[in-house]
């Protein structure tokens, strides 16, 4: 598990504040601000010219809400060491909850998204109850059961989800101004994403965050040190579901239609894939993993369209099987990363940085 930092020679952390800071060097802070600025100006359109195409913008919005969900799962799996195979169900619950509150109680979308997060948190804590007694493998199976139970609930609860017909969600609006179109909605997702990432990074510096890591690393020692295991395990489920709920609600108001079938086991596995590929126990790793997981199928699609345009490549195995190939590659990516790079892209990124810091003299 990645939980360590490679420190640069000559970089001494003499106070506790310096050790727990989010940005270890002034440079890293500048880069983070630069990154956010780039994200802010990316969708701007000046006349005919725009930095990113509509397709790319769709992908960026997807990365936005999925990375919030992945971050939630990373808090649960990477930081607290609990396993959840039912994350997609909580993601879906958030989506339906927000649409339901907006449609049936006319709560404005602006408030219904955070409220959906809170509601999902409550549900997540109920489903996290088994975690108080069981762990490891048993917990994995229990959360697998919760995935199927919630999926069944979605299909059945007409009052909540609209049953087989699905639910319609209104577009996002803020104090009467409707926000429509991808280029405006992008900012809603971006604001949520930055807020949630700062929240998570700070959570991990707080007492609760350290308690999570202690529960992961050695739960018996943690208990001896006075950490309430039951409470922190359930709380971790709650926080992870809160993130999933927010992500789901953003997803619902982006597509403006929520169908019952979209939150299946495959999506749960994809969430797990994101955090494994990104790096368990790394906040930025969740984002990297999501980017990888969203872009991988798109790149394959592009590659396939190039291959099929040639005369020998235009065969049904590629034209019709591309969707299955995408799933296969996701499965293979999970397996290969676990065998060859168990600490994920976040670790690889640290290695690259360390390499270039001392280039060309590596000693």
């Amino acid at each position: 598990m990645a939980g360590y930092n490679m420190m640069r020679c000559g970089e001494f952390r003499t106070t506790y504040e310096k050790d727990t800071t989010i940005f270890p060097t002034p440079m890293s802070k500048k880069f983070a601000i630069l990154g956010v600025l780039l994200c802010v100006i990316a969708p701007l359109q000046i006349g005919e010219f725009s930095f990113v195409s509509d397709t790319l913008l769709t992908l960026m919005i997807q990365i936005g809400y999925l990375s919030i969900g992945a971050l939630g799962l990373n808090i649960l799996v990477g930081f607290t060491g609990q396993i959840s195979l039912g994350h997609a169900a909580f993601f879906g619950f958030g989506a339906f909850a927000s649409a339901w509150m907006n449609n049936d109680f006319s709560i404005p979308v602006f408030f219904s998204i955070p409220l959906a997060g809170v509601l999902t948190m409550a549900v997540g804590m109920i489903f996290g109850m088994p975690a108080a007694r069981i762990k490891g493998l048993y917990l994995a199976i229990a959360t697998l059961a919760s995935q199927f139970i919630l999926e069944d609930f979605f299909a059945r609860a007409d009052w909540f989800t609209g049953g087989a017909a699905g639910a319609l969600a209104n577009p996002f609006e803020i104090f009467g101004f409707a926000i429509s179109g991808d280029r405006s909605y992008y900012y809603v997702v971006l604001v949520y994403m930055i807020a949630m990432y700062i929240l998570a990074a700070n959570l991990m510096r707080s007492r609760d965050g350290r308690a999570f890591i202690a529960v992961r690393d050695h739960y018996l020692s943690a208990e001896v040190m006075g950490i309430n295991l039951t409470w922190y395990r359930v709380l971790s489920f709650g926080i992870s579901s809160f993130y999933a709920g927010i992500a789901g609600a953003l997803f619902a108001h982006y597509l403006q239609y929520v169908s019952v079938e979209s939150f299946n086991l495959l999506l749960s596995i994809q969430f797990i894939g994101m955090i494994i590929i990104g790096g368990l126990g790394s906040v930025m790793g969740s984002l990297m993993g999501t980017v990888f997981m969203v872009l991988l199928p798109e790149i394959m699609q592009e590659a396939a369209s190039i291959i099929t345009s040639t005369s020998w490549g235009n065969i049904p195995a590629i034209t019709e099987g591309i969707n299955f190939m995408k799933e296969m590659v996701i499965g293979a990516a999970i397996v290969l990363f676990l065998i060859f790079e168990p600490d994920g892209l976040a670790h690889r990124w640290r290695m690259i940085k360390a390499y270039w810091k001392l280039y060309p003299f590596s000693y």
Partner: protein, 297 residues
């Protein structure tokens, strides 16, 4: 009350439950000897059934020959899978091991869909007569065969573990890997053997279900249905797996009957075992026959 329907459903439950028991036994075999939770167990059934189907239709081999070829293929498949993918994972945390098998299951499931398509393909006719009448109930011949095969496999397992040399080596490894190694047992071989046996026996179950229902990717769902069975029986108990499998098989059919007669909520057949699973985990996490994991500090 509709007694005929109930009887028929319970009979189906018994037969399907015996098959669940067989698959659960394979799952427990891998868990006991290698400490790996195999989320790709259902894909073994799927691959076995598709390969057998391919031998029978494309190559037009007789059933027995094709079936034996399938078993040979699955032996190699199990060993290769263990050597290439699972061996590097020894000593990794349980989360990683679980996720590797989940990744494998996604990979194989999509791969099978890619190669063989998503449609249900019927098996070529294996038996002359479709159904037999026993105690006034019409039962498909394939079901009788499946019950027979299940019983045969269970007896085979019992013999293997009680009286064969390799079975003894496997039990020793399951009990304590280091002690087994110091006694001259090749733990590597035992691991490979466990995966090979598990793959072969799962493939048999896959072929049997394929003969009755046709081959499609729904077969892989059996691998998930196995979890309620093994948790009910206890994760490390072979007897528990069989008992758990039969109980879950009976339960889901009874749930369907009860649903159809009284509740009318639908989908109970699929979902009832998972409710049972959660309840068992809450009140008796180590199942009926499992070893309690007592921790001392």
């Amino acid at each position: 009350m509709n007694w005929d329907l109930l009887g028929q459903l319970l009979m189906n439950g018994l037969i399907i439950g015996a098959l669940y028991g067989v698959v659960a036994m394979c799952f427990v075999l891998i868990y006991k000897s290698t400490q790996i939770v195999n989320f790709a167990q259902g894909e073994f059934l799927l691959i076995g059934a598709w390969v057998c189907w391919w031998f029978l239709t494309t190559w037009e081999l007789p059933f027995v020959v094709g079936f034996l070829f399938t078993l040979a293929f699955m032996t190699v498949f199990g060993i290769v899978l263990q050597t290439v993918v699972l061996r590097p994972m020894i000593g990794e945390p349980i989360i990683s091991v679980i996720m590797v098998t989940i990744g494998l299951s996604l990979f194989f499931q999509a791969g099978m869909k890619w190669i063989f398509g998503v449609n249900v393909q019927p098996f070529p006719k294996v038996f002359e007569t479709e159904t037999v009448e026993i105690f006034g109930m019409m039962i498909q011949t394939a079901y009788i065969m499946s019950l027979g095969i299940s019983l045969f496999i269970m007896i085979g397992f019992a013999w293997f573990f009680k009286s064969s040399k390799h079975g003894l080596a496997m039990r020793a490894t399951a009990f304590d890997q280091q002690v087994a190694q110091s006694l001259g047992i090749s733990v590597k071989n035992v691991f490979a053997m466990a995966w090979a046996i598990s793959a072969v026996v799962s493939a048999v179950a896959g072929v049997v279900i394929g003969i009755v229902n046709g081959v499609s990717d729904t077969l892989a769902f059996i691998g998930i249905k196995v979890f309620p069975a093994v948790i009910l029986g206890g994760l490390d108990s072979i007897i528990g797996a069989i008992v758990g499998g039969v109980i879950i098989g009976l339960l889901e059919n009874f749930a369907e009957y009860a649903d159809g007669q009284w509740f009318q909520v639908g989908n109970m057949y699929t979902i009832a075992p998972f409710y049972v699973l959660v309840i068992i985990l809450m009140i008796k996490p180590y199942g009926l026959f499992g070893t309690k994991d007592i921790e001392r500090v």
